[in-house]
């Protein structure tokens, strides 16, 4: 069921509309806001966003499926994004990913049954000098060792 967006969210969306000459241009920032509030962007959210931006729901869907940061399903409470691009791979990014796979029993894209962690493999995060690196939620962690990863897992979620 469509439950609508909260007053606070609506107000923030209106602030975003004021930044652009048309509502369509606000689509990415609006989707970011909705995902932050709801955790993901579900079919109902697509319809609500479409209504606010003056678009058809399919136009919202075609945009949100293009960008890897938008999620159409709930993620775990902590999203673990491991960079395995070349610079991080040279410095052990693959070992970090394998360690997380084994420790959490997950393949990239999956969420632990208790809903704590979702594991994702990502492309370059622009922190190649301090690789291997991993984002936990919004926070970037650099120069990781397997011990540091274990510590992060213990302290997260």
């Amino acid at each position: 069921m469509t439950t609508g967006f909260s007053e606070g969210l609506r107000a923030r969306i209106d602030n975003i509309f004021a930044r652009y000459p048309n509502r369509r241009s606000a689509l990415l920032p609006v989707l970011h806001l909705v995902q932050r509030e709801r955790g993901f962007i579900g079919p109902d959210d697509e319809i609500l966003v479409a209504g606010l931006c003056g678009l058809r729901p399919v136009e919202v869907r075609e945009v949100l499926t293009f960008y890897t940061m938008f999620r159409r399903e709930p993620a775990g409470r902590r999203l673990l994004q491991v960079c395995t691009n070349l610079s991080c791979a040279i410095r052990g990014g693959g070992r970090i990913l394998d360690h997380l796979r084994r420790t959490l029993g997950l393949e990239p894209g999956q969420t632990t049954p208790d809903g704590r962690f979702t594991l994702v493999e990502v492309e370059c995060l622009g922190a190649c000098d301090k690789g291997p690196c991993l984002m936990v939620g919004e926070k970037l962690h650099e120069g990781l060792t397997l011990e540091a990863v274990d510590k992060l897992l213990r302290e997260s979620g």
């Binding site: 241009s25 938008f70 691009n85 070349l86 610079s87 190649c128 690789g131």
Partner: protein, 411 residues
């Protein structure tokens, strides 16, 4: 002369505030431009400085601005390309993290020169924290009269807004960036028309990289001759070289344009770890052709790298040691392009994913005798046959890897 300009006062503790920036001479380039120079003088100075774009294409910035029709009464836009996504590149992150006002001062200068009153900074989605800090820096600058209405009492006004991407490498391509900013999938536009005539919302638009704009305050304050003196005659200034991979001291190094690749790796980045030897170097981000150890006495500027069969691109230097298998490198490169192809042009959409499937099969033990030739044919078929440079970017590193490491890849 190893003069540093861009990084001269990077604060490792965090971004410099408006006050610390202004107290050390910050915004005096913008003040000078607004108070003492006409827009044409500013543009002339930047043209004379031979400032070439730092995002990847290396196009002269002053020339690019010159394509904007000046007579038209329609609004013009600036888009700052902060969608740093080229693997091995992290210099714009440094500018945003340490000195956002350096960028904002550059934004004021280009906007004044071209007659722009609205600018969007397109920051890659993953740089969420940096985007927030940049918004704080913008608010600070507005409250101090350095942005917004009537900047420094000059009568010139400029509104700067931050727009975040959402995870798509292709949005660093300038027309994909425009599509993304307008709320569409980031699929590049066919050029011409170029953004200078038909850009954001159909209006004339300048698109410049973060590092490119960060050079403007220095050019205006110290002049084109000073800037040229830092670098090469047709490629002025210093550059931020991002060095990563198998070096002792990875990091961002500000050195003159044209510094030798060998010097950057061995003198500045500390060389390789003891016991390791150099196997190859990717000089300009993942999209550039790989170089052998015998090819690194090359000057890091646009023309010298092109002559060496590669490109300076974003100057993201990835150093590869003898412990790294070229099969891993081929795997990583092809995986990236297959994942990031926007899917619009058939040669790229089919080519990148087909190459990817062959590489997966090869690395899984199912190699066939003609695999590398088949990959090379597919790569050749992408080159020059796509709307945007992504097709070339996906083809050239693969062709260089096959050309230079065929024996190892076949083993």
């Amino acid at each position: 002369m190893a003069e540093k300009y861009l990084t001269r006062s990077f604060d490792p503790a965090g971004p410099r505030s408006f006050k610390t920036y202004a107290d050390t001479g910050g915004y005096s380039g913008a003040r000078k431009a607004l108070a003492e120079m006409t827009p044409a003088m500013v543009m002339g100075e930047v043209k004379a400085a031979h400032l070439r774009g730092r995002g990847g294409a290396g196009f002269p910035a002053g020339l690019k601005w010159g394509f904007i029709p000046q007579a038209s009464p329609a609004p013009k836009y600036l888009c700052v390309n902060a969608d740093e996504g080229e693997p091995g590149t992290f210099k714009d992150r440094y500018i945003l993290a340490h000195d956002p006002h350096l960028l904002l001062e550059g934004v004021v200068i280009v906007s004044y020169a071209v007659g722009i009153h609205k600018a969007y900074v397109y920051v890659r989605g993953e740089y969420e924290e940096l985007a927030r800090r940049l918004e704080e820096a913008i608010s600070e600058a507005v409250s101090q009269g350095a942005l917004g209405e009537n900047i420094f009492g000059s009568g010139f006004s400029l509104n700067v807004l931050v727009h975040r991407g959402a995870g798509a490498y292709i949005c660093g391509e300038e027309t994909a960036l425009l599509e993304s900013l307008e709320g569409y999938r980031g699929q590049p536009r066919l050029k011409p028309p170029f953004p200078a005539s038909v850009g954001l919302f159909g209006n004339s638009t300048v698109i410049n990289n973060v590092e490119t704009l960060a050079n403007l305050p220095g050019i205006i304050l110290h002049g084109a001759d000073w800037f040229l003196g830092l670098g090469k005659p047709k490629d002025g200034g210093t550059r931020l070289y991002s060095v990563s991979g198998s070096v002792v001291k990875p990091g961002v190094y500000e050195l003159p344009t044209g510094t030798s690749l060998r010097e950057i790796i061995f003198t500045h980045a500390g060389g390789l770890a003891p016991g390791r030897t150099l196997k190859a170097v990717i000089p300009g981000g993942l999209s550039s052709a790989i170089l052998l150890p015998g090819e690194i006495d090359v000057a890091m500027d646009c023309d010298s790298l092109a002559a060496a069969g590669s490109m300076i691109g974003s100057a993201g230097i990835i150093v590869i040691d003898d412990g790294v298998s070229m099969k891993t490198v081929l795997d990583r490169v092809t995986k990236f392009y297959a994942h990031e192809s926007c899917g619009q042009c058939t040669p790229c959409r089919v080519g990148t994913s087909w190459i990817r499937r062959i590489v997966r099969r090869m690395n899984g033990g199912g190699r066939r005798a003609d695999d590398l030739d088949r990959i090379a044919r597919l790569a050749e078929a992408m080159k020059g046959r796509t709307f945007c440079p992504f097709g070339d970017a996906a083809a050239l590193p693969v062709l260089a890897l096959i050309g230079k490491f065929r024996t190892e890849l076949e083993g």
